[in-house]
């Protein structure tokens, strides 16, 4: 167990939790991120495999996930369908698309600098975590210093009031889902680089983990309350604890029980702290 590994292993979950916390702050939820990770993995690896440039492949991956993010966002904000249902729809659709595109087989490409993204360290910090940190800082700036940031909280606590103030609620809601999709694509690209192949099931289960990380980090399910920074921290902590269970010699069945206990305990702690007081942001 060392810090380098913890950071490396938690990068994907951390960035997904970051995106998820933004969505949850607007009183939404995004179940599609896990499947999007898989889809992006397949798209990027597929393009790399057909000898397209690395940047083009990365860009296409981001574009794919952004498309589905916008798609969910538009349906949620314009047609006013519950986010849970819409993203459940996009979740199963994209999961299926990932499998269809690769035919159930993993995709690969000839080694190039894309592979090394996951291998390099920057002053002892994994490059992947550096990338995640950059996004983290950007999101913190967004939350604290832009009107968009305040609107995210505003949509979560009182959407109607915000709309009456003349804020383009629909636009900002769509943007939040777009961001979540983008973050999913970043996670997907990072994982693809890590496993040096495109895998149609690599993102399975990440959506629930991201939601759990965000919730344990204090993001309220009804929106408007919580700080993405804690979601980020709790993602790192959860990864460390769950990985640690296996390395401490617990067998898989006991690991399952342990994860259950960690989740409940984390949420319990969170509840105790919430009673004391919750930070505004």
């Amino acid at each position: 167990m060392n810090l380098k590994n913890i950071l490396l292993h938690s990068s994907a979950l951390a960035i997904l939790a970051l995106g998820m916390s933004l969505v949850m702050l607007t009183n939404g939820i995004d179940l599609s991120v896990g499947s999007l990770v898989s889809l992006v993995s397949i798209v990027t690896a597929g393009l790399l495999g057909s000898k397209f440039g690395v940047l083009f492949a990365i860009f296409s991956g981001i574009l794919t996930a952004s498309f589905f993010g916008i798609f969910s966002g538009i349906i949620i904000s314009r047609i006013k369908l519950p986010p849970f249902i819409v993203t459940l729809g996009t979740m199963v659709i994209t999961a299926s698309l990932a499998l269809v595109l690769c035919g159930g087989e993993t995709l690969y490409w000839e080694k190039n600098w894309f592979n090394t993204i996951a291998l390099k360290y920057f002053f002892g910090v994994p490059i992947l975590f550096c990338i995640v940190s950059i996004f983290f800082i950007l999101i913190m700036l967004l939350i604290h210093y832009t009107s968009f940031g305040s609107y995210i909280y505003g949509i979560g606590s009182n959407e109607e009031a915000l709309r009456l103030c003349g804020v383009k609620v629909k636009l900002y809601k769509t943007l939040v889902y777009l961001l979540s999709g983008c973050f999913a694509s970043v996670a997907g690209i990072m994982l693809t680089s890590r496993i040096a192949s495109g895998n149609p099931i690599i993102g399975m289960g990440y959506e629930f983990e991201a939601i759990a990380a965000a919730a344990i980090g204090g993001i309220s399910f009804i929106g408007g309350k919580g700080n993405p920074a804690f979601a980020f921290l709790s993602a790192v902590t959860i990864t460390m604890l769950t990985n640690g269970l296996g390395l401490m010699g617990f067998t898989t069945p006991w690991q399952y029980c342990g994860i259950g206990a960690i989740l409940v305990f984390g949420m319990f702690l969170n509840r105790i702290l919430a009673k004391v007081s919750l930070p505004e942001r």
Binding site: A212, A261, V264
Partner: protein, 323 residues
């Protein structure tokens, strides 16, 4: 849940069935239709529990794992030579205990249902592995297997059970005060509390029922397959949620009914059956189900807004599943 919502879904089911039938006449064989009912029955029993929980504004991600745990323990009990009835009672008790724990964590400790049941999913799955040592327990007595494989007048037992449960829970939801409370808690828990409904109790009972039904489905599953395994049911929670949503139950609670869920389950089962028959690669199954979810919910919104004032609906959607 308005009548035309159900009609819309029923129409979709009929259209799907006719389309599949036109492409592949084998679909219409009585044996195949009974197949669909039998395969849907297991999912439907889970969907009843899921509907009740969602009606109270919660969600249950643990039903597949609870199913695995309860059926494994019951199977071990029967393997050790305990009478069948004892095995069944143990299994149902375990299901109810898991549901009760979910309910208590949600209402008393105030952990969001999503996280509670997600944690319970891991916990129950772990216990299922621990009790069964990861092995598959197989070979049960004929009399036990009857509840999964038997027929009465040509109707498979799982179908009879699910119809029976539909009947019982329909009565409970529509004609008892408990049923009214479930809807009330789901649509506005704060005002329910103010009018004197014991919100916590209603919620705990909802999770308890979901646990009970998961265990019940587990028994039928075990009997039907002649085996109990700790790995079963990883996809059941999402399957059940998808069916319930297609059935028109509002994810934020307070709206929906069991007939809708029944149609939702049938739509999902018919799609998978039809795709199997037509030889369409199963990779597309999820795609079709996802599209159906989006299409039907969108259509429903438009048919609603055509008649009813939209702002009323909006005020309802502000609530979420943490209350």
């Amino acid at each position: 849940m308005r009548r035309n919502d159900i009609l819309l879904r029923f129409a979709l089911l009929i259209i799907l069935a006719i389309l599949i039938f036109l492409v592949n006449p084998n679909f219409g064989k009585p044996a195949n239709l009974i197949n669909i009912l039998r395969q849907g029955a297991l999912l439907y029993i889970l969907a009843i529990g899921m509907t009740i929980v969602i009606l109270t504004g919660g969600i249950d991600l643990s039903n597949g794992a609870v199913l695995a745990l309860s059926s494994c323990v019951a199977a071990i009990a029967m393997e050790r030579g305990l009478p069948i009835m004892v095995g069944i009672i143990i299994s149902l008790a375990i299901g109810m205990i898991c549901g009760f724990v979910n309910g208590v964590l949600v209402t008393q400790v105030k952990i969001p249902p999503f996280i509670t049941t997600f944690a319970m999913m891991y916990f129950a799955r772990g216990l299922a592995y621990i009790f069964s040592h990861g092995r598959i327990i197989y070979g049960f007595e004929k009399s036990f297997r009857f509840i999964g494989t038997g027929n009465i007048f040509g109707i498979p037992m799982p179908v009879i059970f699910s119809l029976l449960l539909l009947f019982i829970f329909y009565i409970v939801l529509e004609y008892t005060s408990f049923g009214v409370n479930i809807y009330a808690v789901g649509s506005n828990s704060e005002s329910s509390r103010l009018v004197g409904i014991n919100v916590k109790k209603v919620r705990i009972i909802a999770y308890l029922l979901s646990g009970f039904l998961s265990a019940f489905a587990g028994l039928i599953y075990t009997a039907r397959l002649n085996a109990a395994e700790p790995v079963v049911g990883a996809s059941f929670p999402l399957d059940a949620i998808a069916a319930v949503i297609i059935g028109g139950t509002s994810i934020v609670g307070g709206e929906g009914n069991l007939f809708g869920s029944a149609i939702g389950v049938l739509i999902c089962t018919v799609i998978i059956n039809g795709m199997n028959l037509m030889g369409i690669s199963s990779l597309w199954q999820q795609f079709v189900i996802g599209s159906i979810i989006l299409i039907i919910i969108t259509t429903q919104t438009y048919t609603k807004s055509a008649k009813i004032n939209i702002p009323i609906l909006r005020s309802r959607k502000i609530e979420s599943f943490e209350k």
